[in-house]
Each structure stands twice: as structure tokens, then as C-alpha cells.
């Protein structure tokens, strides 16, 4: 049962083939079995999950009409607060902290009867592409435990690939949902900015951060998207409009007559040949289903990475000022408030977080502001214009999600620039605030590891990503004869 899709599990629940308690327990058992090796979870809330499952079972038995995913378990990225449950953001700074309130994403999960199994590992404060920056140790890719599961949401993607949960929540500031999905053979969606509330999402870069669904199928992601999305008065940047019809689009999955734009700048040098080959095969499949493939050029995308690594650190240097040792989190040292702050931030933050805070402080300094942060904001405008021009020629845009398959843990740990290049194809959508999805495109011939196919849609047209994603997923499934994760090694055999 744990290898089924969330939709299949929901059917089994509503037809009383299985109870939510049994389903939740099966996932808790799988976590016990494999998580010593995978380390996807920072905290497992067995009691809370089972209590929630018992409640759902009772309500179902009483004849209550429940939401589509009621009783199905989920793994929550540790950057979203859940009342009374430890929330660390992968940082020592918040060790032991139990938030006094629920994030809107969590409230909506609870309203939908979705069972929260626990909190997943991540790069500290979501800064990273490998989950190696977690203060609590790295997560291991279920496809090969010596490799990274992507980041920053590597715990969520690994939990899905290791069948520890059928659904997960991620957050995506520069690719932290999509790149982990790509390197673990799972599905990840960054909705349009403002499509899912940021209330209770610990901020990294507020103008880029976006929570979204992670799953093993496109339809599962669509149901989860509908559960967590929509307007929220608690987030002033929440879009006051109805959620795009993503479930309907995922069920439809017809690309006949659709124009699919291939972005010239997001391929070629720096991309692993096997990843590009899978990308081109996916394109051919979509063309065979009746889509029209056109090439588009987004010439300012070459500057996206540079702009991102000024904007995100700048915003983070401001956002992380809240960790001041006064109101919550750890407190270290003695003396004046400033001494305590200095000592606490020195001890509480890890290497990458310090690097970005210092970089952001520099970029925002008087005398340098215009040259760095100001210029990066202008690049942001140019990238949005590139997208606008491209969407005039195509309904959706596509690229490989990440330039390579999963690399070895430790391989890029001492080379920040090499690490930042992982997000080269995912960053432009965050800068423009539009949606992006990664669906598995197959296993690369060089290493047998999964790669991702990225689909981007204009703002609030998220349904188009689901339409194309589910068409590709169905075509690849019939080509392979089985889901991609069936090829992953079995875990916990030792």
C-alpha cells in the first residue's frame, strides 16, 4: 500500500479497504525501517499523526463527508511552523523551539484531514541545493545513499522516493522544490508566487519564497495544491483569486495543439549529456501527442543566477535579523544585548547562512547598493520581460530541471559557485514569480540516476503545467511499463 499513489490511498480509505490508522502506521513502520539510512526526517510525530488518523477514521465512520485526501499521510518541510511541534529550519538557532501557532499551510492540511507524519530535513533556513547544510546532518538520496537528495527540500523529496510518505510539502526560493524532485525521480511544483500563503513559513527571501506540493504523481500534486492553495488574509502577498483548476488539468492531460517553448539558454554547456538526451526524448513524446514545439530565446537568463545570488542574500540578511536571541531560539553568552546577539548568531548559524548574510549585508551597504542590489533588481525586470516575450510565442516553456543528476555528498561542499549552478534552470521562474514544475524524465544513461523535465507557465496559469506534466507522465509510464521509482534499490534490507 505504501507504494501506491496518494489518490489510490484515498480511494482505499473512502471504500473502507484500509483505515487511516493502518495507513499511517504503515508509513511510520517504513520510517522506522529506512530513515536511519535516509535521514529524511528531523522529527517524527507518531502520536500526533495516529491521533489525527483516529479522528479521521471516526469521522468517516460517522458518515461525515471528508476532503479528497483525508486520512492520507504527509511529510512537512521543517521551515513551516506547526503548533507545538519542533521547528528548526535545519538550524541550531531554533533547536528545541516549539511554535505557538500553525502556519496557514498546516491549518489547511489539518482542515483537509491530511495526516502530518513529521518534519523533514533541509538545508539550514532553506539555503542550499543538497541538504548538506542542515545542522543535523545530510539526507541521503534513496537511489544511492552516497548521493545528495537535492536541496533545500531534500528531506521531503527523499521521504517520497523512500516511500516514507506519499505526499510532502516543500518551499522553493530558487529551485528547492523542483531540483530535489528532479534528482529523486519525484514530482515537485512551485506554484505562482502568492498562490500558497507564506504565513508561518520562516522567511528566507520574501519576494521569492513559495511553498508548494511534492508527490510521486502529477495528479497527487494537483490535489495537494488545491488543498493548500488560495487566498489568505494573513499573507499580504497572497493573490486574491481562485486557485487555477489544477486537478481538472491533471486529469485532462491533453497537449494536442499546445505550443511548447524550448528555452535556448537553458541547455547545452554545463548540462550532463544524459540529462539533455532525456529532455529531448520527452520533447519528442510531447510532439507525438500533438504538441507544437517551438524554440524561444531568453537572453537575459544568463544573468539570472548572478541576480539571484544578490537578491536572495540581501533579503536573507534582513529577514534573519529576527534571530536576535531575545524572543525565541537559543541564547548564548553574557554581557550586553549586543554581545549576546553576536555570540548567539555566531554559534547558531552555519557556514552557508553566515556567508549569505555577510554577502547580503555587503550588497545592501551604502555605496554598493546601486551597483549590486539595484542592478540585480533591474535584471529581474529584464528576465520578466524575457518570459513575457516567450509566453507570447508558447503556452508553456520547458527545460531540464537541473543540469545534472544527483552528485556525491561532499563533492561540491567547498565550492559555493559550483553548488549555486545547480539552480541555473530553476531560478528564473522565482525571479519572475511564475510557476514551475518538475516531472521525472527518466534515468540518465551515464549513471542510471533520475533527471527532471521542467515546465513553466505564466502567472496564475498553473493548470497548464499540470496539463503538460500529466501528459508526459502518462506517455513515459506507458513507454517504461512501470513507475520510475520501481527502478530504485530497495532500502532497509540490511
Amino acid at each position: 500500500m505504501i507504494k501506491n499513489s496518494a489518490v489510490q490511498m484515498a480511494h482505499a480509505l473512502s471504500s473502507n479497504e484500509i483505515s487511516s490508522v493502518e495507513l499511517t502506521q504503515a508509513h511510520l513502520d517504513q520510517i522506522s525501517k529506512v530513515d536511519t539510512d535516509v535521514h529524511a526526517f528531523l522529527h517524527v510525530d507518531s502520536e500526533g499523526a495516529l491521533a489525527q488518523a483516529r479522528d479521521i477514521d471516526a469521522r468517516r465512520k460517522a458518515g461525515e463527508k471528508l476532503a479528497p485526501l483525508a486520512g492520507v499521510p504527509l511529510a512537512l518541510k521543517d521551515v513551516l511552523v506547526q503548533k507545538g511541534i519542533p521547528t528548526t529550519c535545519g538550524s541550531k538557532m531554533l533547536e528545541g523551539w516549539r511554535p505557538p501557532y500553525d502556519s496557514t499551510v498546516v491549518s489547511r492540511l489539518k482542515d483537509n484531514g491530511i495526516i502530518i507524519l513529521g518534519k523533514t530535513n533541509m538545508d539550514e533556513f532553506a539555503m542550499g541545493s543538497s541538504t548538506e547544510n542542515s545542522a543535523y546532518g545530510p539526507t541521503h538520496n534513496p537511489w544511492d545513499l552516497t548521493r545528495i537528495p537535492g536541496g533545500s527540500g531534500g528531506g521531503s523529496s527523499a521521504a517520497l522516493a523512500a516511500f516514507e510518505a506519499p505526499l510532502a510539502i516543500g518551499t522553493d526560493t530558487g529551485g528547492s522544490i523542483r531540483q530535489p524532485a528532479a534528482v529523486t525521480g519525484t514530482v515537485g511544483v512551485k506554484p505562482t508566487y502568492g498562490g500558497v500563503s507564506r504565513y508561518g513559513l520562516v522567511a528566507f527571501s520574501s519576494s521569492l519564497d513559495q511553498a508548494g506540493p511534492c508527490a510521486r504523481t502529477v495528479l497527487d500534486a494537483a490535489y495537494l495544491h488545491e488543498a493548500i492553495g488560495g487566498y489568505d488574509r494573513m499573507d499580504s502577498t497572497s493573490i486574491n483569486a481562485s486557485i487555477p483548476p489544477v486537478v481538472e488539468a491533471a486529469k485532462n492531460g491533453n497537449v494536442k495543439g499546445m505550443k511548447i517553448g524550448v528555452i535556448k539558454e537553458l541547455q547545452g554547456d554545463g548540462y550532463q549529456p544524459g540529462v539533455l538526451k532525456l529532455f529531448n526524448q520527452s520533447l519528442e513524446l510531447l510532439a507525438s501527442l500533438g504538441a507544437e514545439i517551438v524554440e524561444v530565446s531568453c537572453k537575459y537568463f544568463d544573468y539570472a543566477l548572478a541576480a539571484y545570488y544578490l537578491i536572495a542574500p540581501s533579503e536573507c540578511s534582513s529577514n534573519l535579523a529576527r534571530f536576535d536571541a531575545m524572543r525565541y531560539g537559543i541564547r548564548v553568552g553574557e554581557g550586553s544585548a549586543e554581545d549576546v546577539m553576536n555570540a548567539t548568531r555566531q554559534q547558531g548559524f552555519g557556514r552557508e547562512v553566515k556567508r549569505r548574510i555577510i554577502l547580503g549585508t555587503y550588497a545592501l551597504s551604502s555605496g554598493y547598493y546601486d551597483a549590486y542590489y539595484g542592478s540585480a533588481q533591474k535584471v529581474r525586470t529584464l528576465i520578466s520581460r524575457d518570459f513575457e516575450a516567450a509566453f507570447a510565442k508558447a503556452d508553456v516553456l520547458v527545460s531540464p530541471t537541473a543540469p545534472t543528476t544527483a552528485f556525491k555528498i561532499g563533492e561540491k561542499a567547498n565550492d559555493p559557485i559550483a553548488m549555486y549552478l545547480n539552480d541555473i534552470a530553476t531560478i528564473p521562474t522565482n525571479l519572475a514569480g511564475i510557476g514551475g514544475m518538475s516531472v521525472p524524465s527518466g534515468l540518465a544513461e551515464e549513471d542510471g540516476l533520475p533527471a527532471g523535465f521542467q515546465i513553466m507557465a505564466p502567472a496564475m496559469k498553473d493548470d497548464r503545467m499540470y496539463q503538460v506534466g500529466s501528459a508526459l507522465e502518462a506517455a513515459l509510464l506507458s513507454k517504461w511499463g512501470k513507475p520510475i521509482l520501481e527502478n530504485a534499490p530497495s532500502l532497509g534490507a540490511r
Binding site: S207, L310, R327, Y368, A371
Partner: protein
């Protein structure tokens, strides 16, 4: 405090107009520059970190400085993907955290308040 906000001479950073269209751009961030940034950011970096970061920051700044190649004066900046301004809500009383909930994560508290170390020095 004013002296803290002022930066050492922008000796290594040319004005954007000068550097437009130039790809090579040598940043040279010294150990003392990083120490000043760390002071502003309230992080008591170790000597090792100061030296290491000054090298890393120079490399990263060289890589990101290329935004200046295309950031010409006629391009307006984008600070946010949504064209929102001044989002208001009705000013009404709604349920919120109790004092004990709000203080639940405090490192120290006293009389329903956050207890903090001394903020002003003796001479202030």
C-alpha cells in the same frame, strides 16, 4: 553609529556606469572589510572565518557583479513579482496569542515580558 554605516572607500568597486559591458571585475574584500560587515550583521565571526570569507566573498562578488553589464539606467528595478502596493485590512479585534503563548519560546522572561540583557552601556 553613523561611522558604522559608512563603508571603507569603494576602492575596488567601480561605479556601475564605468563597469557596464566589462566582464572582468576584480573584487578584493579584505579581512577587515568582512570584520566590519560581521559587526553590522551582529555575528562574532572567528579569525578563521574572517580570512576564509574574505577570499570566498571576493570570488562570489566577481561572479555576481556581471549584473552590472545589463543594468542600464533605462531599465526600471523590480523589487517584487506582484504589482502590489499598500495592502490594507480592516482594523478589527481578532483572537491572537495569549501572553504565555507569545512568551513560550523566550530564552528568558519576567512578569509577562521578554527578559533581555542590558541594552545600553554604562557611558550611554
Amino acid at each position: 553609529m553613523d561611522c558604522e554605516r559608512r563603508w571603507p572607500d569603494p576602492k575596488v568597486i567601480r561605479a556601475p556606469s564605468e563597469s557596464l559591458g566589462k566582464v572582468t571585475f576584480m573584487s578584493n574584500i579584505s579581512r577587515d572589510d568582512v570584520a566590519n560587515l560581521a559587526k553590522l550583521a551582529r555575528i562574532d565571526l572567528s579569525e578563521d572565518e574572517l580570512n576564509h570569507l574574505s577570499k570566498e566573498l571576493s570570488v562570489i562578488l566577481d561572479a555576481v557583479a556581471r549584473v552590472q553589464e545589463v543594468a542600464s539606467a533605462d531599465v526600471p528595478p523590480t523589487s517584487h513579482p506582484l504589482p502590489l502596493q499598500n495592502v490594507f485590512r480592516v482594523d478589527e479585534v481578532r483572537p491572537s496569542l495569549t501572553p504565555s503563548e507569545a512568551l513560550s519560546g523566550a530564552p528568558a522572561q519576567e512578569e509577562q515580558r521578554f527578559k533581555v540583557p542590558q541594552i545600553l552601556g554604562e557611558e550611554q
